[in-house]
Assembly symmetry: C2
Homo-oligomer: 339 residues x 2
């Protein structure tokens, strides 16, 4: 079996660390593994498969002989360095928002639109975490009954913001429990024991960046700009795992039972749906898992072709690292690397 040289830009971050973990778990056919950072993390030692690797500062020579470069640092790092990596012959799998809406860049979720990956010109973008889990759950229903409309409200974990946010939730929770003044640095407001309807900067239309990502990315992935999407994205005091309350309207009527059957057969989806016995997906159960969990599937009481569902996934795994590694696996299996 061939082995592939891999670089991870942002290797010390939450998503970078998960990419290493997921590659190890899935026995990714690794040749050289080069851990890169664009920031103060250079020099850090990171354990990997019994070895210890040193994070290196990214330079223009970092991508020599690299087959696959995962980018999970900042958007500006992707903008600046992804073209360098591509020019050296690597295929870039970019977790940032830098290229997602670029018509020349496939925006890919392997269970959903794998064939888009073949059209890459050096860069494949991985969608936003909240988009990934939604499209994995909805694509099989879209194929069966054509989704015309989506109304979605999210319950997003702080790990989506990064390592500092995990610390902030922990510190603030302790401060509240000890009756102390709450200190803030990551979020504009206290997140402990609160919910904040604000993820990413706001557009003049009143939608947040996160909400607009869910709209545009879903339309691009489904290759259908006619789908109506009404998103509200909200940060909740949870460490790991995003939840989404979703209402869809389909062109063809789907019963809840039919939808459940379709989802049970869908790739990457696990149906957990016995609410009477307390079984539905929850963040604490999905943390560390690669699948997208769907429950609370029920028919709209008034809209004949409406369905409601509740979707949970680990935002760092399927929402980020796992999806990126799956894209890399697809590139390998379908001979889509640059050399």
């Amino acid at each position: 079996m061939s082995r592939y040289n891999v670089a991870v830009v942002g290797a010390a971050g939450l998503v970078g660390t998960q990419i290493l973990k997921v590659m190890a778990e899935r026995r990714f056919p690794l040749g050289e593994l080069c851990l890169l950072a664009t920031t103060r993390s250079a020099g850090r030692r990171i354990p990997f498969n019994g070895r210890e690797l040193v994070v290196q500062e990214t330079t223009v020579n970092s991508f020599d002989d690299i087959d696959i470069a995962f980018f999970c640092a900042s958007k500006s790092a992707s903008r600046e360095l992804a073209p360098v990596a591509v020019s050296k012959g690597a295929v870039v799998i970019d977790k940032s928002n830098a290229f997602r809406m670029d018509p020349d860049v496939p925006l890919a979720v392997p269970e959903v639109n794998p064939r888009a990956i073949a059209r890459h010109k050096g860069i494949v973008a991985s969608p936003n975490c909240s988009t990934i889990q939604m499209v994995v759950a909805l694509k099989p229903l879209h194929d069966a009954a054509r989704i015309k409309r989506i109304v979605v409200s999210t319950y997003q974990a702080v790990s989506g913001t990064g390592r500092d946010a995990l610390v902030e939730l922990e510190d603030q929770s302790k401060e509240v429990l000890e009756g102390k003044e709450v200190t803030r640095s990551v979020y504009p407001h206290q997140i402990a024991f609160n919910v904040i309807p604000h993820i990413d900067a706001f557009d003049i239309n009143g939608y947040s960046g996160e909400e607009m990502k869910m709209v545009r990315e879903t339309q691009k992935i489904f290759e259908d700009e006619s789908i109506s999407i009404s998103p509200t994205t909200v940060r909740v005091p949870v460490y790991m795992g995003h939840a989404e309350s979703i209402m869809i309207e389909t062109e063809k009527k789907l019963s809840a039972e039919a939808a459940r059957d379709i989802l049970r057969d869908a790739p990457g989806v696990v149906v957990v749906d016995d609410p009477g016995n307390g079984e539905y997906p929850m963040p604490i159960d999905c943390a560390g898992r690669d699948e997208v969990f769907v429950g609370r599937v029920r028919e709209d009481l008034f809209c004949e072709k409406g369905l409601l569902l509740w979707v949970v996934a680990d935002n760092l795994r399927k929402g980020a690292a796992t999806n990126a590694v799956q894209i890399a696996e697809y590139l390998i299996q379908n001979d889509l690397l640059a050399r």
Copy 2:
């Protein structure tokens, strides 16, 4: 000014305590105040306006000479004792779910459907907390443009469950922060650092009791059974304050600006809507307040007559105690007491 003899059944509970607080704040024209309990709380001493009152066990004689009886204990206590109170000449304001859907019982939110109160036959029901804040925010928009459809996802505080749930959230949060095993007694799953899409028992149609309350109560309050309501109710690790992500479709087009103007003039509503400057309603800001806070008002990007909004209120104040006291004030001001 006349003074009125008041009984509070469930006076030691979270809502009962708030009713006392709200009556004191609003200088309610109190005569005698009788604190009652149906449970182990009898004998407890509760401070009120500088005095200390002893909670008494409820008996058939507890309602002699009572003008207004607030019921904020269990549904079974209301079922059993509210008719007794009415037979003694009291008007019952019931916070439980016992009589809400009874066609002979008005289900009232004074800002929304005050005239229903006049039709009482001894009992006035106060709606579920999640319904109250939604109808206060939506009624003025309904009057202006007729709402045909509501899709709502809630983010509900644990105080809605009662005092034990506040303790459970606190204890579990400490356990998680200290790396200990989490203990449960109130909720079927860990609530600390988690979200649970389960409030009240599930119906065979897949909806929870809380969700069905939002449907039926809203239709009764708006006196319109044609309104389509698609609810998902979710418990979040917040102490005080429910939040709701709401999408509405109206018969007449309403711009976001027009909706904001209408809401600014609406009774009991405060508009907090400057997201670019981090201003939107949040549970931590609304705790202890009587109003319903509305923000994130924006037009649906695809549905011409669709609007999205974010509604937050203190579930123990406007969602329970304040609404009940306002109903009592309305009864007094409109000479609607039994004697």
